[in-house]
Amino acid sequence: MAAKKLNIKDKYRLLTRDLDWDFSYEDRSKAFPFEEFEGIKITDWSKWEDPFRLTMDTYWKYQAEKERKLYAIFDAFAQNNGQLNISDPRYVNALKIFLTGVSPLEYQAFQGFAHTGRQFGGVGARVACQMQAIDELRHVQTQVHAMSHYNKFFDGLQDWSHMHDRVWYLSVPKSFFNDARAAGPFEFMVAIGFSFEYVLTNLLFVPFMSGAAYNGDMATVTFGFSAQSDEARHMTLGLEVIKFLLEQHEDNVPIVQKWIDKWFWRGTRLLTIVSMMMDYMLPNKVMSWKEAWEVYFEEAGGALFKDLARYGIRMPKYAETIEKEKEHVSHQAWWTFYTHGHAAGFHTWIPSDEELDWLSEKYPDTFDKYYRPRWELAKEMEAKGERFYTKALPQLCTICQIPMLFTEMDDPTQISYRDSIYKGDRYHFCSDGCHDIFEDEPEKYVQSWLPVHQIFQGNCGGPDVEDVLRDYYQMNVGVDNMDMKGSPDEERWKKWKGVA
């Protein structure tokens, strides 16, 4: 008798749900020791629904196909000297941020999902987390492979893993994931599976990647879209987790809401660096950060929260502040990196006149009023041979670890400061959002490893900033950092292109 082909639903039941087992001689709660301490109540894991119903055999089949397509493009890109076809060598600096700041997060996501998947009592959630863990491992590998080609031709890509662990601005993404991974399994899922994957990663992997294509970088757009095709599954897992938690017990609703408030705020802060990559580091423009934010955060996120309203879930706290910030954050961030350009592992620059005009057009309410005059001043100073670099080390927010660069949204000339005293010590924050996160769990955040504090305490070598950069961060000082103008990257590019 010929074997009957199973339909997707039956196959999913047999190859996923039927793989579970009962605990007959061991205590089940000892097998899943982290399932209860966050206060989440699960009454019936069998109510878990995985809408994609992907089984392991199908997973390998399609992932293998994605990998073959991806590596064919990497090969073609390298064999065709694709690095010469990018729009402008300034663009590669966005890749330096990506490799040092984002790719290591993929590895942290792998670790987080492998751990979290192990801790869930339900088999459907375990299998979905296992697939996501393997996806994340694939993402870090493909990103390293894609960018290894650029490493042959450009500076600043040589020691990304070491840099991720030590460099001041990279503690922002690193501590974000450390925070999520140090939480319980359900908070990790709300933080990464839901808040980060469902709304926020889209902003990096869709409009920014489309921008990579528009700047001639086929290798990056391809790993980006290939990764994001896994993210479509991750987003769906994140949404399922939320719905499942909210349907299991009404006591879960306030806990989940608190995590949503925390992680949307944390995620918004983390994306500050992406805002700057979109508005300032893509020489050929696809859309502004503000436009991308409106499509992927306001529209997509708004639809999501309307859908969840029936469970009693509301928009994340500080949504009104977040809405105003889209007009400001990219400008505030790029200015901060420009003025700290001697301490960054990538090059910074003054936008061209054409780019300044584009920013004026895209940000009619804020750019000319608050930000363009700074660039006009920077141009004057540069013309006089006085390119500005600040001498000071910035004060950092204890939660997001970003320098105090954000302003009050009602007064964009006033830096936003908050503080809190805990056991006799004063802690500093960039916003009400970060302040409230501290107040909720001070014992966790008093342990933050803040790079500027560590430098002042003598834990990062020194005594000068240059010593820290060279010996502790292992940057090639004078090569990896400073302005794009006059950099070895720029000189090599001119030589390849035959430009004087």
Binding site: I8, F52, T58, Y62, V221, S229, A232, E299, A303, D307
Partner: protein, 89 residues
């Protein structure tokens, strides 16, 4: 009503999938961006196997969609015949 959306890599396979989506969901908006195609619809969108097979001229498994998928928004339901996206309001 909120918009559901799906984005696909701009390539030869997706072109037929987009044609099928347009045929089955007459009110969708198709946006072409560098290297990608984004399709939006009010509240509901379906990708139907039968229509894709007709356009692409071969057997097509709904789960093949994963190969060219970039992102999506909405509650997903997938079986052997179709993938649907919906918002509940």
């Amino acid at each position: 009503m909120s918009k559901v959306y799906i984005a696909l890599q701009d390539n030869d396979e997706s072109r037929y999938i987009v044609e099928a989506i347009e045929a089955d969901n007459p009110d969708v908006t198709v946006l072409h961006m560098p290297a990608m195609i984004r399709i939006e619809a009010e509240g509901f969108l379906a990708v139907k196997r039968e229509t894709v097979e007709e356009k692409i001229g071969r057997d097509w498994d709904v789960q093949e969609l994963h190969v060219n998928l970039i992102t999506l928004g909405g509650n997903v339901d997938e079986d052997d015949d179709q993938l649907t996206l919906t918002w509940n309001e």
